[in-house]
Symmetry: C2
Subunit: 367 residues, 2 copies
């Protein structure tokens, strides 16, 4: 640029007074501020910061330098109003659940993945007695986010249908069976249940029960299929345990588990679909005088470190919710960027079953 023009600009701006210069004392710097300081136009500054091809290299450097010096950050409301891009991702959470720390792990994972991105994370709560469709509709209708993450997925999920129909970017924690391709992340509950049965069979267990999720949810089928498959392969017997599921309040799980264990022939092995459920089961069996690791074995998911504190031996596989959060965040970001949904589907296959916790009977006696 010519020196002359620059000086002209400076003079013109100065005559306008500080009010219009965008340099008002404590206020946040805007594009105008930088435009004034560099003697460039607002548009040029905007484009320079975006590395537009029609801006000179020198100019870009200068603009970026000043932008950094004054601590310029684009005004989100301005961008949002102009472009419609919110730079927000909404995570829909059921706020009634009191299931251990797994929600905070998902949140941590999502935050982690979003940390170096322009995205803010907003929480959109659903309460169990409301239509799970409400928050989704709200976000889409008010365009309060660029993408959305939902969980508790059903095989035929109205929310997924709605989001696909509206072309709204999203990712689900769990799969559907609707013949619609969409971004998802899931834990392989089929593999989990099958491996669990094998592990129990290897420990000599023959009468197995499954604490499954609500039949309403997709992964109910995955888990019960895996369980059934394991039973056939190991020739073990199933003890129906259909009055309890992992999504119930933990006290109710325990109550149902007590009934199960007080049957004439109680199970000698249980596959437990959630870490929290395992607490209820262990509590119940202790109350019945059954000894974990001796009379009965339990396989569960090590969804929290708390599971490691189980005193008797417990069998567990690791379900990493933090990782799930990261995967989900990645998937929505890519979905927003317009990626093919079939490339945004990840299945986390659990590692083999391990024993956690300490030995069933203390070797060491206190002083």
């Amino acid at each position: 640029m010519s020196a002359r023009r620059k000086v002209d600009m400076m003079a013109k701006q100065e005559s306008d007074g500080t009010q219009r210069s965008g340099l008002a004392d404590g206020a946040r710097p805007t594009l105008k501020t930088i435009a004034f300081m560099t003697g460039l136009g607002v548009t040029t500054v905007s484009r320079a910061l975006k590395d537009a091809p029609d801006i000179g290299e020198e100019t870009k450097k200068r603009v970026k330098l000043i932008a950094r010096q004054v601590g310029y950050r684009p005004n989100r409301a301005g961008v949002r109003l102009r472009t419609g891009k919110t730079n927000v991702i909404s995570l829909v959470l059921n706020t009634d659940e009191q299931l251990m720390g797994f929600i905070s792990d998902i949140i941590s994972g999502v935050s982690e993945e979003l940390a170096d991105s322009p995205y803010h994370l907003i929480l959109t709560p659903v309460s169990g007695h409301n239509d799970p469709m409400d928050p989704v509709r709200y976000v889409v209708e008010t365009q309060s986010a660029d993408g959305i993450i939902i969980s508790q997925i059903e095989p035929n999920d109205a929310r997924v249908r709605y989001l696909v129909e509206h072309g709204f970017p999203f990712a689900t924690h769990g799969r559907t069976h609707m013949g619609i391709e969409h971004p998802w992340h899931d834990f392989d509950n089929h593999a989990f249940a099958r491996q669990a049965v094998h592990a129990l069979a290897k420990a000599g267990r023959r009468r197995l029960a499954l604490l499954a999720p609500t039949p309403r949810l997709t992964y109910y089928r995955h888990m019960s299929d895996g369980f059934a498959e394991g039973l056939i392969e190991t020739d073990a017997a199933e003890l129906p345990f259909r009055d309890a599921w992992v999504d119930m309040p933990i006290e109710e799980i325990k109550a149902q588990a007590l009934k199960l264990m007080r049957r004439p022939t109680p199970p000698d092995g249980i596959v437990c679909g959630s870490g929290a459920g395992a607490f209820a089961l262990v509590s119940a069996l202790e109350e019945c005088g059954l000894r974990l690791g001796e009379d009965i074995d339990i396989v569960t998911k090590q969804s929290s470190r708390l599971v490691q504190m189980f005193r008797p031996r417990l069998l567990a596989v690791n379900e990493d919710f933090r990782r799930a959060g990261r995967e989900l965040a990645k998937a929505v970001k890519a979905s927003i960027a317009g990626a093919d949904p079939t490339t945004l589907q990840t299945l986390y296959v659990p590692e083999t079953v391990e024993r956690v916790g300490q030995p069933p009977r203390p070797e060491f006696q206190g002083p």
Copy 2:
């Protein structure tokens, strides 16, 4: 309004074509849409929806009716750009913590309180190795929220000082000791620890240990003072337990607890500052062959329903994080509204210590 003027307006608008009418097919209705439909000016519609005093009752009714019919929702970006009000509350969370479900309970409480308000909840993560000041500065500097909720409060907390100095609305989960009045909600850890000691003394326990939080945090002092006070009142002895605190990873708490319990004279009672910590303690003492409720008693906080699943008898008081979330949300909202901070300080005093869990030895033997 005169019929004539209305007709004029309609005619004028119609000649403008649909493009400018704000009635473009699937698009979100704006003030312009309603202005067109009612034949009023955009300003009038805006003011009518706000119940401004200079708008006629008839007009208000008509505008509101149409607004409801077309499903009008103010565009947040527009409002934010114009007024500076974000209608967002930021909750700062440490995303390293893996402490049980208490984070999700706080989130639920906050969401609950914000449900019928215009506020959205955004999560601003801090990682433990970053300066806790960073997210606070970010929110204030970029004005990305109208108010902020922080936790893990220290007696002399730089964040609180910063927020007060900048006149930025906030609420803290925990108190400070800086001689600065600000909105807070806190659990009475002094009362908790004192009551806990009394409960242990009543059960005949004489050698007591305290699993306290990091000394850095304000409530460390509250808890240890309450503990000390209880000791004096009950004439019990303290067994120092200073290498562990409730904020450590649960495995480390357990490791430290093992050392404590393997001392020549182990404690016969422990006051445990967190529900998660209790899992580690119980795990440790079982590993040492100590029997909970017989050789030793533990008092903890029933911060999660999981604590109820403790097989042996455990003493616990209820710490309601959901309620804490609600209180904090209320406090920020009031702080934003400009309320006197001294009226926004609530202390949750725990109820008396209760036994939870089932009896120590099973009365019932399985079949």
